[in-house]
């Protein structure tokens, strides 16, 4: 009864489109499968030839497509179907969820960088002339002119380009904190003031070039940092868009439309088809089915639901068609509990003091004190004039300018997150690297983290391959996850033409005059003894039976398979000296089985969100730093409360948001890669901090002695910045293999949790 309705659902693509002032409509899509330049021109040419299309431009960096068309002449649905025909799955972004703020910030940084770059080059032009003139025969009047022109450039440039630093410093000071931007702002303002003062005195040296060059370097570092995070976020957004966070809404007039989640309100009625993930929390109004709640509770046993039962976003409907009345997200009992726990976990999490902030808090007082002492020393002890003493004191500030220090950590973060990005790990925060480096215990969730979300055939070797193919052919017609898993392991391509589906039980067909059934053992009339025997061999397995005519049915046993490299990863983590534990919401037997296979001695089963947090708290009290790896809704609070956390890309939205990083692909290897990279990055950060300390140890005495000239300042500044950056770039060495190994996963894991769109139905 449900088959025809499934096909009549229209996607309401227009909800994703935004009208433009020139009468056309614009839409941004995340496109899956773009790998090279050829894809780019295939898509663009394929779409531009359609009537009414005004714009089709692929962005190869972000794997996105910008589409524009004239409403009436073209339609979003046709364009997306055309893309599908070309071989690319695409899904539009929900316009309500895009972050324009990020874009604006990146553009502002780039503009500031451009302005300061212009200023630095032009002032340097004049400064080099002055430096050359100072050792030859420059006319003092000409030198003053050059200094005044420099001042004329430097003033507006600083006023414009230093705004990001001033703003951040102002915010920190208002909150009675200090950060790196406070000494930067003080240094910039003082240097500019001193240079103007020196120009007024017709002095030989002015530091206009130093101040603008400092800004240029700092802005470059900041832009790179920002860009890296933006790139990570855009991939995460693509993944989210391709996971089709939409719901089939039933309109009051009975029509069914697929709409983005932001257009679904509490009280709406949505349709959940078999094989689909439930996208909302709600109460079943009509229909009955089995629900796979593993992503929410960690439990792998299917739960039967009927009218009045509660269903949760993220669960998988494996049985029949459901009509669900949407409830407000906060009303759900389980979600409520998770949200409260999540909030308290985030609050209780002791604020981690970032390395950069720690360096800044040590740096500022030392530098400012030594500048003050220099001033007092020259003025009171050595009897120099106030003005000259002040010049020397400020030159101490200039030479210690936190150039190297400000670049020391961001450059490492940029390089490390770039390497991790290629290895399939997307970091949410830069300091996650530092926290990862300190980890000594790794806690895994079982379902969906150590195991794959898709089921795996256990007894494939027992079954005759031809019979397997025959079953697989019928299974192609099924939307049930077990049916699809069966079809995947066979060579079967096309499903039989006429298939009848009995929701929740199985499918049947008549092939070559023979009656054929695939479904639950009872549906195929299997001997209960055979079922019991197979279950004894594979405890906890899910069974599918296949019957041809009057023959005895063949049974297939399925289990959620471990990730291919789970054992290897656990071994490698142990080799790295880390303690490994499993905390799961699943049954004791299932967890014990996995723990034994992986060689993990410590595990706990049947845990709720509160129990997981309690275990993490115990570990924390023992002085452990825990990396939590989990995917389910029930893991979200634990992810937030752990020292640092990772979650696979198949995880529920809430968990991904709570985790510090998300990893892509079917393998667990990125966990090891992340930990290894983090340790190396941490070493590089500490090295960089020491490099800037050493630099200051050499430079400060020179400045205190009053020997610093703008030329020395310029050389020291760029020299130290370059050294620090080169040291950070060293992290890239020796990572080539892993990068190539994992690069392709960046686009395909999104397909994993969903039924293939091309599955044929009757």
């Amino acid at each position: 009864m449900n088959a025809p309705r499934m096909t009549t659902v229209d996607r309401d693509w227009n909800a994703f489109a935004t009208p433009r002032t020139d009468g056309t409509v614009h839409m941004d899509l995340a496109v899956e499968g773009i790998t090279c330049a050829a894809c780019m021109s295939t898509i663009e040419r394929g779409l531009r030839t359609l009537p009414g299309v005004t714009e089709a431009r692929v962005n190869l960096t972000t794997h996105r497509l910008a589409l524009g068309w004239k409403p009436g002449e073209a339609e979003a649905g046709t364009l997306i179907r055309r893309l599908e025909k070309l071989g690319y799955r695409a899904h539009p972004f929900d316009p309500g969820r895009r972050s324009a703020e990020e874009e604006a910030e990146a553009k502002e940084l780039l503009r500031c960088m451009g302005v300061s770059g212009f200023g630095a080059m032009n002032i340097m032009l004049l400064s080099v002339s002055v430096w050359a003139g100072n050792v030859t025969d420059i006319d003092p009047a000409t030198r003053d002119l050059f200094h005044w022109i420099s001042a004329l450039i430097a003033f507006p440039v600083v006023a414009y380009s230093a705004r990001p630093f001033f703003r951040s410093a102002g915010r920190a000071l208002r909150a009675f904190r200090t950060n790196m931007d406070v000494p930067i702002s003080i240094g910039v303002v003082l240097t500019l003031g001193l240079s103007i003062f020196e120009t007024l005195r017709s002095a030989e040296h002015a530091f206009f070039d130093s101040v603008v060059m400092l800004l240029f370097f700092l802005l470059t570092g900041r832009f790179l940092d920002h860009n890296m995070r933006r790139r990570t976020r855009s991939v995460a957004e693509n993944v989210a868009a391709l996971r089709v966070e939409s719901a089939a809404k039933i309109l009051p007039d009975g029509q069914i439309r697929d709409v983005p989640l932001s257009k679904v309100d509490p009280g709406d009625l949505v349709l959940v088809r078999p094989g689909e993930r439930v996208s909302v929390d709600g109460v079943v109004e009509d229909g009955s089915s089995d629900i796979d709640q593993s992503l929410v509770t960690g439990e792998t046993t299917l739960v039967g639901v009927g009218v009045g039962a509660r269903v949760y976003a993220g669960t998988l409907n494996v049985g029949g068609l459901l009509r669900v009345r949407v409830t407000a997200a906060t009303e759900g009992t389980l979600l409520d509990e998770v949200n409260t726990l999540l909030e308290s976990a985030a609050q209780a999490k002791s604020k981690y003091m970032r390395l950069a902030d720690r360096a800044a808090s040590a740096y500022a007082p030392v530098v400012h004190a030594s500048a003050l002492l220099t001033f007092l020393g020259w003025w009171l002890i050595l009897g120099l004039g106030v003005a000259d003493s002040l010049v020397i004191a400020v030159s101490v500030l200039i030479i210690t300018c936190p150039c190297a220090l400000a670049l020391a950590i961001p450059t490492v973060q940029v390089v490390a997150s770039g390497v991790l990005f290629k290895a399939g790990v997307l970091l949410h925060s830069g300091d996650a690297i530092e926290r990862l480096a300190a980890v000594d215990t790794v806690v895994f969730d079982k379902t969906g983290t150590l195991t794959l979300p898709e089921p795996r055939l256990l007894n494939g070797d027992d079954v005759d391959p031809d019979r397997l193919d025959r079953a697989g052919r019928l299974a192609r017609a099924s939307r049930h996850p077990l049916g699809q898993a069966l079809a995947e392991v066979t060579r079967a391509v096309a499903p039989p033409m006429e298939v009848r589906e009995e929701p929740g039980r199985g499918i049947e067909t008549a092939l070559d005059g023979q009656f054929e059934r695939l479904g639950s053992p009872a549906f195929c009339g299997t001997d209960p003894a055979a079922v019991a025997a197979l279950l004894a061999r594979f405890p906890g397995a899910s069974l599918v039976a296949h019957r041809v005519g009057d023959e005895a049915p063949v049974l297939f046993a399925f289990e959620q398979g471990l990730r291919r490299d789970a054992r290897e990863v656990v071994d490698r983590l142990k080799a790295m000296g880390l303690a490994v534990e499993i905390l799961s919401g699943d049954r004791e037997a299932a967890v014990a089985d996995v723990a034994a296979t992986l060689g993990v001695a410590r595990f706990a089963a049947g845990l709720g969100p509160t129990d997981k947090i309690a275990r993490l708290e115990t570990l924390k009290a023992d002085g452990r730093r825990v990396l939590m790896v989990g995917d389910g809704l029930n893991d979200a609070p634990a992810l937030a409360s752990a020292h640092v956390s990772l979650s696979p890309v198949t995880a529920v939205h809430l968990s991904q948001a709570a985790a510090d990083a998300v990893f892509l692909g079917d393998r667990l290897a990125p966990v090891v890669a992340a930990l290894g990279m983090a340790r190396r990055a941490r070493t590089a950060m500490v090295q960089n901090l020491w490099l800037s300390v050493i630099y200051n140890l050499i430079a400060v005495p020179v400045a205190v002695a009053g020997w610093v000239t703008p030329l020395i300042a310029a050389l020291a500044m760029s020299g130290s910045s370059v050294i620090v950056t080169l040291n950070a770039l060293r992290l890239r060495l020796g990572t080539g293999a892993t990068a190539a190994d994992h690069a392709p996963v960046a686009t395909d894991p999104t397909a994993a949790p969903m039924p293939a769109p091309g599955v044929v139905r009757t």
């Binding site: 780019m40 692929v58 780039l110 451009g114 212009f118 000409t142 002119l145």
Partner: protein, 62 residues
């Protein structure tokens, strides 16, 4: 040193020109897709059906 009267404004003017060019390119979205831009230059599909009567320089498909 009278030549400075010309040289300095010229130098600054050129610098400003560069700055404006950068600002324009930023605004025009030239940095939106650095990877794609590198490949687009190699794509000659926009030339194929320019002049039907022209020799096809060895391309079999035209």
């Amino acid at each position: 040193m009278d030549v400075l009267i010309f040289l300095i404004p010229i130098a600054l003017g050129l610098g400003l020109l560069g700055l404006f060019a950068f600002m324009w390119s930023l605004k025009a979205g030239q940095y939106e897709d650095l990877e794609g831009a590198g490949w687009r230059i190699l794509d000659d599909s926009d030339l194929q059906d320019r002049r039907p009567g022209e020799p096809t320089d060895g391309r079999a498909d035209r």
